[in-house]
């Protein structure tokens, strides 16, 4: 179940992981993208923690909406609209629900709608689809997250900049999938959500 408190803790944890791994994310983005995923995400999560820090006693919808707006206005590239839409859709769903499955389903539907990607396109959707299913089954583990992220290595990209490379995109982890992996790791580490 999501609450304003554990969601703030989740996002703060996520921000820490992104900041610590920004260089790694940009390195992943170098062979198959434009080497800026880490910088862009770091700029975004810094804005998220700043914006959340300014809220006093917010409700869940406000936490999610504030996160969405910070990401939308600070990240840029493809990741900004994708992560931003995910949190915006969670905020909308949080008006009537707070259970983990409903909100994560809403986030995933938002990502799919905004980016037009489906499973097998080598995008963050390839991580979100299996991991949201694991969350619902009550069986999400760090090993599964790692496996889902690693599995993007073998896929040929069909969306985004990596798709220009065609089969040369095989052998590289999708950077957006790795940053999504950190989001799910933070979900496991935050008490009370799963």
């Amino acid at each position: 179940m999501f609450t304003a408190e554990n969601t703030t803790a989740w996002l703060t944890n996520f921000a820490g992981k992104i900041e610590a791994n920004a260089a790694y994310l940009s390195d992943l983005d170098t062979p198959i993208g434009d080497a800026d995923h880490g910088n862009n995400m770091a700029r975004g999560v810094t804005a998220v923690t700043e914006a959340l820090g300014k809220l006093s006693d917010p409700d869940l919808v406000t936490v999610l909406k504030t996160t969405a707006m910070a990401l939308i206005s600070k990240v840029g590239g493809a990741s900004g609209p994708l992560y931003g839409t995910a949190f915006l859709e969670m905020a909308k769903a949080a008006k009537d629900a707070n259970d983990t499955a409903t909100l994560l389903d809403a986030a995933l539907a938002g990502i799919e709608k905004r980016g037009g990607a489906t499973t097998g396109d080598k995008t963050m959707v390839d991580v979100w689809v299996p991991l949201v299913a694991d969350v619902k089954a009550g069986s999400l583990t760090k090993d599964q997250i790692k496996a889902a992220v690693e599995a993007t290595k073998d896929i040929e990209a069909k969306k985004g900049r990596a798709s220009y490379l065609g089969e040369r995109s095989v052998g590289h982890i999708d950077p957006g999938s790795q940053s999504s992996g950190y989001l799910f790791e933070a979900l496991i580490e935050t008490e009370g959500i799963l």
Partner: protein, 331 residues
């Protein structure tokens, strides 16, 4: 990395500030954004606004084409990163005159998503918005199963034709039709001698040996279709013009515009030599372009290389539009 900058994080805001303050009679910055609009507000009255934008690092694109007769506004993203929806929306709002706003977007997943979100935001405020997604780079295969072709240097021809039409009072519907008619007639292909270095990354996007070139490279160091040893200018033209010919089926009975575009670190001297070879080889096909342009228009920071764009002028009005007078920093 050897660059005349301050903090790499400040590259874009400092560049925008320097540009706007150097050309105050042409450009104005929308407060608290990296969006720039025409200083000459009278020139926009009663007209549809045209807004373009994208990542920075392609100067003079995009803001260099803002001014009477061309763009109404341009939005600068971070280096090689699409601007965000709130910034694009700020530009839309600043140029809207109640006649709607037309967006020129280059075909990259990030740009398309951010501009679409801005379009949604504007429509919530009752500003009618349409858009064209430019995809002139023939180096990339066009397929349902990829992102499709990228938008590159040919985009400036789209800016020019739409800008002239909007200045002459074209409606949003007219502009959408015009943009869709123009789009399939603009084709571009590039060759790179070296990669661009993004200031925050500090190292080149890819490595080419001293004697190596790569055909088909994009404007953000996206890899091309073939790497080989450097050859004389006329052989590079043969390769690139050959690709354009395969795609466009060049015809001496048709009219064309030509753009030889420097990618940032290639001297004009070399661009003129490349133009000389291109014009010679076109002449051998009995083609003399009706409009020509040579220079740095859609750069890729400090990448060395050239792109060649041909624009088939299927409608004589398009040639008039290319020659239409403008007051911009860079056209």
């Amino acid at each position: 990395m050897k660059k005349i900058i301050n903090d790499p994080h400040d590259v874009v805001p400092e560049m925008v500030d320097g540009l706007v303050r150097s050309y105050p009679s042409i450009l104005e910055q929308v407060p608290d954004t990296l969006a720039m609009v025409r200083a000459d507000k009278d020139s926009m009255k009663g007209k549809v606004g045209i807004v373009s934008g994208g990542g920075s690092g392609h100067e003079p694109t995009h803001a260099g084409f803002v001014g009477k007769g061309m763009l109404s506004g341009a939005v600068a993203g971070q280096v090689f990163t699409s601007p965000t929806p709130d910034q694009i929306y700020a530009a839309i709002k600043a140029v809207d005159q109640g006649k709607g706003v037309f967006l020129v977007v280059k075909n990259y997943s990030g740009d398309v998503m951010n501009f679409d979100m801005a379009k949604d935001m504007a429509e919530m405020d009752d500003i009618e918005v349409r858009r064209i997604v430019v995809d002139d780079d023939i180096a990339v295969k066009d397929s349902l199963y990829t992102q499709g072709r990228r938008g590159v240097a040919g985009t400036i021809f789209m800016h020019k034709v739409l800008g002239a039409a909007a200045q002459e009072g074209a409606s949003l519907d007219d502009l959408e039709k015009l943009a869709n008619a123009v789009l399939p007639n603009i084709k571009t292909i590039a060759v790179a001698l070296s990669a661009a270095t993004v200031p925050e990354a500090g190292k080149p996007g890819f490595e080419l040996a001293e004697d190596e070139i790569e055909f088909g490279v994009g404007i953000h160091s996206e890899p091309g279709y073939r790497r080989e040893k450097l050859r004389p200018s006329k052989e590079l033209v043969e390769e690139l013009l050959g690709k354009l010919d395969d795609e466009m089926h060049l015809d001496p009975n048709k009219q064309y515009a030509m753009l030889v575009n420097g990618m940032g670190a290639t001297p004009l001297m070399e661009q003129y030599i490349f133009a000389h070879d291109t014009l010679d080889q076109l002449k051998a096909k009995n083609i003399t372009p009706a409009f020509t342009k040579v220079g740095n228009y859609m750069t890729s920071i400090d990448m060395a290389g050239i792109s060649l764009t041909l624009f088939e002028l299927a409608d004589p009005a398009w040639l008039k539009a290319l020659n239409y007078p403008v007051e911009t920093v860079a056209w």
